[in-house]
Symmetry: C2
Protein backbone atom coordinates (compact mmCIF):
# COMPACT_ATOMS: atom_id res chain seq x y z
CA UNK A 1 0.00 0.00 0.00
CA UNK A 2 1.31 3.49 -0.83
CA UNK A 3 1.48 5.70 2.27
CA UNK A 4 -0.19 8.78 0.82
CA UNK A 5 -1.06 10.24 4.24
CA UNK A 6 2.48 9.75 5.53
CA UNK A 7 4.03 11.33 2.44
CA UNK A 8 1.72 14.37 2.43
CA UNK A 9 2.98 17.49 4.17
CA UNK A 10 1.11 18.98 7.13
CA UNK A 11 -0.02 21.78 4.83
CA UNK A 12 -1.95 19.36 2.62
CA UNK A 13 -3.62 16.94 5.03
CA UNK A 14 -6.44 15.94 2.62
CA UNK A 15 -5.50 13.65 -0.28
CA UNK A 16 -6.43 14.69 -3.81
CA UNK A 17 -9.44 12.95 -5.36
CA UNK A 18 -8.49 9.83 -7.25
CA UNK A 19 -5.25 9.33 -5.38
CA UNK A 20 -5.13 5.89 -3.70
CA UNK A 21 -5.93 5.90 0.03
CA UNK A 22 -2.98 5.60 2.42
CA UNK A 23 -2.58 2.99 5.11
CA UNK A 24 -3.90 5.05 8.00
CA UNK A 25 -6.63 6.49 5.82
CA UNK A 26 -7.83 3.02 4.83
CA UNK A 27 -7.72 1.93 8.45
CA UNK A 28 -9.79 4.95 9.46
CA UNK A 29 -12.22 4.27 6.63
CA UNK A 30 -12.71 0.72 7.93
CA UNK A 31 -13.20 1.94 11.52
CA UNK A 32 -15.78 4.51 10.42
CA UNK A 33 -17.66 1.87 8.44
CA UNK A 34 -17.45 -0.55 11.38
CA UNK A 35 -18.96 2.01 13.78
CA UNK A 36 -21.85 2.58 11.39
CA UNK A 37 -22.35 -1.15 10.78
CA UNK A 38 -22.22 -2.18 14.47
CA UNK A 39 -24.40 0.79 15.42
CA UNK A 40 -27.12 0.07 12.88
CA UNK A 41 -27.08 -3.76 12.68
CA UNK A 42 -25.77 -4.67 16.12
CA UNK A 43 -22.78 -6.92 16.78
CA UNK A 44 -24.24 -10.29 15.77
CA UNK A 45 -25.46 -9.29 12.32
CA UNK A 46 -22.35 -7.31 11.37
CA UNK A 47 -19.52 -9.23 9.73
CA UNK A 48 -16.00 -8.53 8.56
CA UNK A 49 -17.42 -8.88 5.06
CA UNK A 50 -20.28 -6.39 5.60
CA UNK A 51 -17.90 -3.85 7.13
CA UNK A 52 -15.51 -4.32 4.19
CA UNK A 53 -18.37 -3.75 1.74
CA UNK A 54 -19.46 -0.59 3.58
CA UNK A 55 -15.86 0.67 3.62
CA UNK A 56 -15.43 -0.31 -0.04
CA UNK A 57 -12.30 -2.35 0.65
CA UNK A 58 -11.38 -6.01 0.29
CA UNK A 59 -12.42 -8.19 3.31
CA UNK A 60 -8.84 -9.51 3.40
CA UNK A 61 -7.70 -5.99 4.23
CA UNK A 62 -10.07 -5.79 7.21
CA UNK A 63 -8.73 -9.15 8.40
CA UNK A 64 -5.19 -7.90 7.86
CA UNK A 65 -5.72 -4.79 10.03
CA UNK A 66 -8.01 -6.18 12.75
CA UNK A 67 -7.78 -10.02 12.69
CA UNK A 68 -11.22 -10.78 14.23
CA UNK A 69 -14.65 -9.18 14.46
CA UNK A 70 -14.26 -8.62 18.20
CA UNK A 71 -10.88 -6.93 17.68
CA UNK A 72 -12.48 -4.73 15.02
CA UNK A 73 -15.28 -3.88 17.46
CA UNK A 74 -12.80 -3.06 20.25
CA UNK A 75 -10.88 -0.75 17.91
CA UNK A 76 -13.98 0.90 16.41
CA UNK A 77 -15.54 1.53 19.85
CA UNK A 78 -12.15 2.59 21.25
CA UNK A 79 -12.52 0.14 24.13
CA UNK A 80 -9.76 0.81 26.66
CA UNK A 81 -9.14 -2.95 26.84
CA UNK A 82 -9.73 -5.77 24.42
CA UNK A 83 -11.98 -8.34 26.16
CA UNK A 84 -10.75 -11.06 23.82
CA UNK A 85 -7.32 -10.65 25.41
CA UNK A 86 -8.55 -9.92 28.94
CA UNK A 87 -11.08 -12.71 29.40
CA UNK A 88 -8.64 -15.63 28.98
CA UNK A 89 -6.36 -13.95 31.55
CA UNK A 90 -9.28 -13.89 34.01
CA UNK A 91 -10.62 -17.40 33.48
CA UNK A 92 -7.33 -19.10 32.59
CA UNK A 93 -6.14 -19.80 36.17
CA UNK A 94 -9.40 -21.63 36.98
CA UNK A 95 -12.57 -20.86 38.91
CA UNK A 96 -11.19 -20.89 42.46
CA UNK A 97 -10.26 -17.21 42.68
CA UNK A 98 -12.43 -16.10 39.80
CA UNK A 99 -14.42 -13.71 42.02
CA UNK A 100 -11.37 -11.81 43.14
CA UNK A 101 -9.81 -11.72 39.67
CA UNK A 102 -13.04 -10.39 38.16
CA UNK A 103 -13.49 -7.58 40.70
CA UNK A 104 -9.81 -6.59 40.72
CA UNK A 105 -9.47 -6.62 36.94
CA UNK A 106 -12.72 -4.67 36.52
CA UNK A 107 -11.59 -1.93 38.91
CA UNK A 108 -8.13 -1.96 37.34
CA UNK A 109 -9.59 -1.26 33.90
CA UNK A 110 -11.66 1.66 35.26
CA UNK A 111 -8.60 3.07 37.00
CA UNK A 112 -6.46 2.98 33.84
CA UNK A 113 -5.68 6.57 32.80
CA UNK A 114 -8.04 7.67 30.04
CA UNK A 115 -10.25 4.59 30.32
CA UNK A 116 -12.88 6.06 32.61
CA UNK A 117 -14.12 8.79 30.23
CA UNK A 118 -14.42 6.27 27.42
CA UNK A 119 -16.27 3.71 29.57
CA UNK A 120 -18.65 6.34 30.95
CA UNK A 121 -19.32 7.37 27.34
CA UNK A 122 -20.14 3.77 26.41
CA UNK A 123 -22.52 3.40 29.37
CA UNK A 124 -24.20 6.69 28.44
CA UNK A 125 -24.77 5.51 24.86
CA UNK A 126 -26.02 2.10 25.94
CA UNK A 127 -28.47 3.65 28.41
CA UNK A 128 -29.82 6.32 26.06
CA UNK A 129 -29.71 4.81 22.54
CA UNK A 130 -31.51 1.52 21.83
CA UNK A 131 -29.14 0.58 19.01
CA UNK A 132 -26.12 1.11 21.26
CA UNK A 133 -27.75 -1.05 23.95
CA UNK A 134 -28.31 -3.86 21.46
CA UNK A 135 -24.74 -3.61 20.17
CA UNK A 136 -23.25 -3.71 23.67
CA UNK A 137 -25.60 -6.50 24.78
CA UNK A 138 -24.61 -8.69 21.83
CA UNK A 139 -20.91 -7.93 22.20
CA UNK A 140 -20.89 -8.60 25.96
CA UNK A 141 -22.85 -11.82 25.45
CA UNK A 142 -20.39 -12.97 22.82
CA UNK A 143 -17.01 -12.09 24.30
CA UNK A 144 -17.68 -12.06 28.07
CA UNK A 145 -20.84 -13.86 29.13
CA UNK A 146 -20.26 -16.85 26.87
CA UNK A 147 -16.63 -17.65 27.77
CA UNK A 148 -16.98 -16.96 31.52
CA UNK A 149 -20.17 -19.07 31.70
CA UNK A 150 -18.39 -21.89 29.94
CA UNK A 151 -15.58 -21.73 32.51
CA UNK A 152 -18.16 -22.00 35.32
CA UNK A 153 -19.64 -25.05 33.61
CA UNK A 154 -23.07 -25.24 35.29
CA UNK A 155 -26.54 -25.27 33.76
CA UNK A 156 -27.40 -21.90 35.35
CA UNK A 157 -23.95 -20.37 34.70
CA UNK A 158 -25.26 -17.64 32.41
CA UNK A 159 -27.74 -16.36 35.00
CA UNK A 160 -24.97 -16.42 37.62
CA UNK A 161 -22.61 -14.47 35.39
CA UNK A 162 -25.24 -11.83 34.50
CA UNK A 163 -25.92 -11.27 38.23
CA UNK A 164 -22.19 -10.73 38.76
CA UNK A 165 -22.16 -8.45 35.73
CA UNK A 166 -24.97 -6.49 37.38
CA UNK A 167 -22.87 -6.10 40.54
CA UNK A 168 -19.87 -4.86 38.56
CA UNK A 169 -21.76 -2.50 36.24
CA UNK A 170 -23.65 -1.11 39.24
CA UNK A 171 -20.36 -0.63 41.07
CA UNK A 172 -19.01 1.41 38.15
CA UNK A 173 -22.21 3.45 37.98
CA UNK A 174 -22.27 4.29 41.68
CA UNK A 175 -18.51 4.81 42.10
CA UNK A 176 -17.50 6.52 38.86
CA UNK A 177 -20.67 8.01 37.33
CA UNK A 178 -22.96 8.97 40.24
CA UNK A 179 -19.91 9.25 42.55
CA UNK A 180 -21.90 8.23 45.61
CA UNK A 181 -19.87 8.43 48.82
CA UNK A 182 -18.30 6.66 50.60
CA UNK A 183 -18.07 4.24 47.66
CA UNK A 184 -16.56 6.85 45.31
CA UNK A 185 -13.51 7.38 47.56
CA UNK A 186 -13.23 3.84 48.93
CA UNK A 187 -9.91 2.04 48.61
CA UNK A 188 -9.71 -0.46 45.74
CA UNK A 189 -8.40 -3.23 48.02
CA UNK A 190 -11.26 -2.63 50.46
CA UNK A 191 -13.83 -3.02 47.68
CA UNK A 192 -12.12 -6.15 46.34
CA UNK A 193 -12.03 -7.66 49.84
CA UNK A 194 -15.74 -7.01 50.39
CA UNK A 195 -17.03 -8.01 46.96
CA UNK A 196 -14.73 -10.88 45.94
CA UNK A 197 -16.21 -13.54 48.28
CA UNK A 198 -19.71 -12.51 47.33
CA UNK A 199 -18.99 -12.60 43.60
CA UNK A 200 -17.33 -15.98 44.06
CA UNK A 201 -20.44 -17.34 45.84
CA UNK A 202 -22.75 -15.95 43.15
CA UNK A 203 -20.65 -17.80 40.57
CA UNK A 204 -19.91 -21.16 42.17
CA UNK A 205 -21.93 -21.70 45.38
CA UNK B 1 -58.25 29.36 47.45
CA UNK B 2 -60.72 29.97 44.63
CA UNK B 3 -60.94 26.96 42.33
CA UNK B 4 -60.70 28.82 39.04
CA UNK B 5 -59.57 25.78 37.06
CA UNK B 6 -62.33 23.63 38.50
CA UNK B 7 -64.98 26.24 37.77
CA UNK B 8 -63.79 26.92 34.22
CA UNK B 9 -65.50 25.00 31.43
CA UNK B 10 -63.51 22.66 29.18
CA UNK B 11 -63.87 25.23 26.42
CA UNK B 12 -61.86 27.84 28.37
CA UNK B 13 -58.99 25.86 29.88
CA UNK B 14 -56.64 28.85 30.24
CA UNK B 15 -57.45 31.42 32.94
CA UNK B 16 -57.70 35.09 31.98
CA UNK B 17 -54.73 37.30 32.93
CA UNK B 18 -55.12 38.79 36.39
CA UNK B 19 -57.52 36.13 37.58
CA UNK B 20 -56.17 34.30 40.68
CA UNK B 21 -54.52 30.95 39.97
CA UNK B 22 -56.59 27.83 40.64
CA UNK B 23 -55.64 25.02 42.98
CA UNK B 24 -54.27 22.67 40.36
CA UNK B 25 -52.59 25.51 38.55
CA UNK B 26 -50.81 26.60 41.73
CA UNK B 27 -49.77 23.02 42.40
CA UNK B 28 -48.38 22.72 38.88
CA UNK B 29 -46.59 26.05 39.28
CA UNK B 30 -44.90 24.73 42.44
CA UNK B 31 -43.93 21.45 40.75
CA UNK B 32 -42.42 23.29 37.78
CA UNK B 33 -40.45 25.57 40.11
CA UNK B 34 -39.31 22.55 42.17
CA UNK B 35 -38.01 20.73 39.10
CA UNK B 36 -36.01 23.81 38.10
CA UNK B 37 -34.72 24.35 41.66
CA UNK B 38 -33.70 20.71 42.27
CA UNK B 39 -32.21 20.48 38.78
CA UNK B 40 -30.06 23.60 39.12
CA UNK B 41 -29.16 23.60 42.84
CA UNK B 42 -29.33 19.90 43.67
CA UNK B 43 -31.40 18.40 46.46
CA UNK B 44 -29.42 19.60 49.48
CA UNK B 45 -29.33 23.29 48.60
CA UNK B 46 -32.97 23.50 47.54
CA UNK B 47 -35.53 24.28 50.24
CA UNK B 48 -39.30 24.53 50.53
CA UNK B 49 -38.68 28.26 50.91
CA UNK B 50 -36.52 28.58 47.77
CA UNK B 51 -39.05 26.62 45.71
CA UNK B 52 -41.86 28.82 47.05
CA UNK B 53 -39.91 31.95 46.10
CA UNK B 54 -39.27 30.60 42.59
CA UNK B 55 -42.97 29.70 42.23
CA UNK B 56 -43.98 33.10 43.67
CA UNK B 57 -46.23 31.54 46.31
CA UNK B 58 -46.21 31.46 50.09
CA UNK B 59 -43.97 28.72 51.62
CA UNK B 60 -46.98 27.65 53.74
CA UNK B 61 -48.75 26.72 50.52
CA UNK B 62 -45.87 24.45 49.44
CA UNK B 63 -45.99 22.80 52.87
CA UNK B 64 -49.75 22.47 52.55
CA UNK B 65 -49.55 20.67 49.21
CA UNK B 66 -46.40 18.57 49.71
CA UNK B 67 -45.63 18.38 53.45
CA UNK B 68 -41.84 17.74 53.21
CA UNK B 69 -39.00 18.45 50.82
CA UNK B 70 -38.62 14.77 49.98
CA UNK B 71 -42.35 14.48 49.18
CA UNK B 72 -42.04 17.55 46.98
CA UNK B 73 -39.05 15.96 45.25
CA UNK B 74 -40.92 12.68 44.73
CA UNK B 75 -43.88 14.56 43.20
CA UNK B 76 -41.75 16.87 41.04
CA UNK B 77 -39.64 13.98 39.68
CA UNK B 78 -42.75 11.80 39.32
CA UNK B 79 -41.09 8.99 41.26
CA UNK B 80 -43.25 5.88 41.00
CA UNK B 81 -42.84 5.37 44.75
CA UNK B 82 -42.13 7.73 47.61
CA UNK B 83 -38.96 6.51 49.35
CA UNK B 84 -39.95 8.33 52.55
CA UNK B 85 -42.89 5.93 52.78
CA UNK B 86 -41.10 2.88 51.39
CA UNK B 87 -37.91 2.96 53.46
CA UNK B 88 -39.55 2.60 56.90
CA UNK B 89 -41.50 -0.39 55.54
CA UNK B 90 -38.21 -2.02 54.51
CA UNK B 91 -36.17 -1.31 57.63
CA UNK B 92 -39.03 -1.37 60.16
CA UNK B 93 -39.13 -5.17 60.72
CA UNK B 94 -35.40 -5.20 61.64
CA UNK B 95 -32.16 -6.23 59.93
CA UNK B 96 -32.61 -10.03 59.90
CA UNK B 97 -34.37 -10.30 56.54
CA UNK B 98 -33.31 -6.90 55.28
CA UNK B 99 -31.52 -8.43 52.27
CA UNK B 100 -34.61 -10.21 51.04
CA UNK B 101 -36.92 -7.25 51.68
CA UNK B 102 -34.59 -4.90 49.79
CA UNK B 103 -34.29 -7.12 46.71
CA UNK B 104 -37.98 -8.04 46.62
CA UNK B 105 -39.19 -4.46 47.13
CA UNK B 106 -36.75 -3.13 44.54
CA UNK B 107 -37.93 -5.61 41.89
CA UNK B 108 -41.55 -4.97 42.92
CA UNK B 109 -41.17 -1.25 42.25
CA UNK B 110 -39.65 -1.90 38.80
CA UNK B 111 -42.47 -4.31 37.98
CA UNK B 112 -45.21 -1.81 38.91
CA UNK B 113 -47.11 -0.84 35.73
CA UNK B 114 -45.83 2.50 34.42
CA UNK B 115 -42.91 2.65 36.83
CA UNK B 116 -40.29 1.18 34.56
CA UNK B 117 -40.38 3.91 31.88
CA UNK B 118 -40.10 6.58 34.54
CA UNK B 119 -37.21 4.87 36.34
CA UNK B 120 -35.33 4.28 33.09
CA UNK B 121 -35.81 7.98 32.35
CA UNK B 122 -34.34 8.91 35.72
CA UNK B 123 -31.32 6.64 35.20
CA UNK B 124 -30.81 8.13 31.74
CA UNK B 125 -30.81 11.68 33.12
CA UNK B 126 -28.52 10.80 36.00
CA UNK B 127 -26.03 9.11 33.66
CA UNK B 128 -26.00 11.85 31.01
CA UNK B 129 -26.55 15.15 32.88
CA UNK B 130 -24.20 16.13 35.70
CA UNK B 131 -26.85 18.22 37.48
CA UNK B 132 -29.28 15.29 37.44
CA UNK B 133 -26.56 13.01 38.85
CA UNK B 134 -25.90 15.45 41.69
CA UNK B 135 -29.61 15.78 42.44
CA UNK B 136 -30.16 12.01 42.52
CA UNK B 137 -26.97 11.42 44.53
CA UNK B 138 -28.05 13.90 47.20
CA UNK B 139 -31.63 12.64 47.29
CA UNK B 140 -30.58 8.97 47.54
CA UNK B 141 -28.03 9.82 50.25
CA UNK B 142 -30.67 11.68 52.22
CA UNK B 143 -33.70 9.42 52.01
CA UNK B 144 -32.20 5.96 51.41
CA UNK B 145 -28.53 5.66 52.30
CA UNK B 146 -28.85 7.56 55.57
CA UNK B 147 -31.83 5.72 57.10
CA UNK B 148 -30.78 2.23 55.95
CA UNK B 149 -27.21 2.76 57.22
CA UNK B 150 -28.57 3.88 60.56
CA UNK B 151 -30.64 0.69 60.77
CA UNK B 152 -27.50 -1.39 60.12
CA UNK B 153 -25.72 0.50 62.89
CA UNK B 154 -22.06 -0.26 62.09
CA UNK B 155 -19.16 2.11 61.47
CA UNK B 156 -18.84 0.95 57.85
CA UNK B 157 -22.62 0.78 57.26
CA UNK B 158 -22.62 3.45 54.54
CA UNK B 159 -20.02 1.64 52.44
CA UNK B 160 -21.97 -1.60 52.88
CA UNK B 161 -25.23 0.04 51.79
CA UNK B 162 -23.65 1.69 48.71
CA UNK B 163 -22.27 -1.71 47.62
CA UNK B 164 -25.78 -3.15 47.92
CA UNK B 165 -27.11 -0.12 46.04
CA UNK B 166 -24.59 -0.93 43.31
CA UNK B 167 -25.91 -4.49 43.08
CA UNK B 168 -29.51 -3.28 42.81
CA UNK B 169 -28.89 -0.46 40.33
CA UNK B 170 -26.75 -2.81 38.23
CA UNK B 171 -29.54 -5.39 38.33
CA UNK B 172 -32.01 -2.82 37.00
CA UNK B 173 -29.58 -1.74 34.31
CA UNK B 174 -28.86 -5.28 33.07
CA UNK B 175 -32.42 -6.61 33.41
CA UNK B 176 -34.57 -3.66 32.35
CA UNK B 177 -32.34 -1.30 30.33
CA UNK B 178 -29.76 -3.49 28.55
CA UNK B 179 -32.14 -6.49 28.74
CA UNK B 180 -29.29 -8.97 28.92
CA UNK B 181 -30.48 -12.59 28.85
CA UNK B 182 -31.09 -14.80 30.75
CA UNK B 183 -31.38 -12.12 33.46
CA UNK B 184 -34.01 -10.11 31.56
CA UNK B 185 -36.47 -13.03 31.52
CA UNK B 186 -35.51 -14.61 34.85
CA UNK B 187 -38.23 -15.23 37.40
CA UNK B 188 -38.45 -12.61 40.18
CA UNK B 189 -38.42 -15.28 42.92
CA UNK B 190 -35.34 -16.88 41.39
CA UNK B 191 -33.46 -13.56 41.46
CA UNK B 192 -34.58 -12.84 45.03
CA UNK B 193 -33.46 -16.30 46.14
CA UNK B 194 -30.02 -15.86 44.58
CA UNK B 195 -29.36 -12.25 45.61
CA UNK B 196 -31.03 -11.99 49.04
CA UNK B 197 -28.40 -14.01 50.99
CA UNK B 198 -25.61 -12.15 49.26
CA UNK B 199 -27.15 -8.73 49.94
CA UNK B 200 -27.72 -9.76 53.55
CA UNK B 201 -24.04 -10.74 53.92
CA UNK B 202 -22.87 -7.49 52.35
CA UNK B 203 -24.99 -5.61 54.90
CA UNK B 204 -24.43 -7.51 58.14
CA UNK B 205 -21.64 -10.10 57.84
Amino acid sequence: MPTARGAASAATPRRRPGRPAGKSETRQQILDAARTEFGSKGYDRSTIRSVAAAAEVDPALVHHYFRTKSDLFAAAMELPVNPRVLVPAIIGPGVDDLGERLVRTFLGVWDTPGARERLVGLIRSAVTVDEAAQMMREFLTHVLLGPVSEAIGRPDARLRVTLVGAQLVGLALMRYVLELEPLASADTDDIVERLAPHVQRLLTD
